[in-house]
Amino acid sequence: MSNASDKGSILGPTLVLKGELIAEEDLVLKGRVEGSIQHTASLKISKEGSVKGNVKAKQITVDGTVEGNLFGAEAVAVEASARVTGDIHSRSVSLIEGARFRGKIDMDYSEGAEARPAVSRGATTGK
């Protein structure tokens, strides 16, 4: 799936986005985003790509660098070339050998749970 160019967006390596990005189509990020990403489809952060901030998407594939938390509604894949500093929240998480990762992995994540952040002290999803 290296060629997602026919459908969806590609943000090339010289792009630097500082701010908040919202997208609803497949996205390949080869540039740099400083800020949050809210995404409803599949997002690929390729080798040259880097994100400093939280990322929320349906499927996240990381080949590049992420400093921030990843929220995958369906899945998060951290590939061998990735460098991730932050927490991963998704029901399905894969971490390929070779990847650098520092943070927590939470597979209890369901979408919407993080909509109420950090209010809870002990019970995260109180029922």
Partner: protein, 167 residues
């Protein structure tokens, strides 16, 4: 057609990229022309229709915007295109801008601004060459003497200035 621009890198998965050391590959956006990219295959990024971005965008490759951007754009490559679906609310600084969509804000181009028939522009255009096609909606001022705005181009070489004044 956007896909062809990236057809030049088929084996990128195989090319081993040093994962060590380089923690901040592009911390500073220093103009680095031609050396890191082949001039024969210009890069093109597509900023798709569903994308909404609030903040500052800088880019040094050709860019087609079909989404919405609220904030400033600092573009330093050949052409920045605001597509028919694109909408920009904020100021634009670029070399050449083609507007087919909506722009609210000032557009400064060191080379040219082309306002296509489908465009709706509300703001000021400053560039040595400006084209406004029949059918376009435009409200604002047009200034084809960017020399008087040299400061706003932030040191960028304006085409007309090249001959008359130095850097």
């Amino acid at each position: 057609m956007a896909g062809n621009a990236y057809g030049s890198e088929p084996g990128r998965r195989g090319s081993s990229f040093e994962t060590s050391a380089k923690t901040e590959p592009r911390a500073e956006a220093t103009p680095q022309p031609a050396s890191m990219q082949s001039p024969a295959q210009p890069r093109l990024s597509v900023f798709g229709q569903s994308l909404v971005f609030k903040g500052n965008l800088t880019a040094e490759e050709d860019l087609l915007i079909q989404g919405r951007i609220e904030g400033s754009i600092d573009h330093n490559a050949t052409t920045l295109t605001i597509g028919v679906h694109g909408a920009v609310k904020g100021n634009i600084l670029a070399n050449k801008v083609i507007i087919q969509g909506e722009v609210q804000g000032d557009v400064r181009a060191s080379d040219a601004v082309i306002v296509e028939a489908s465009a709706r522009v509300h703001g000021n255009l400053i560039a040595p060459r400006i084209g406004l096609k029949d059918g376009a909606k435009f409200k604002g001022t047009i200034d084809m003497d960017p020399a008087s705005h040299a400061k706003e181009f932030r040191g960028r070489k304006v085409n007309e200035l090249l001959e008359s004044t130095g850097p």
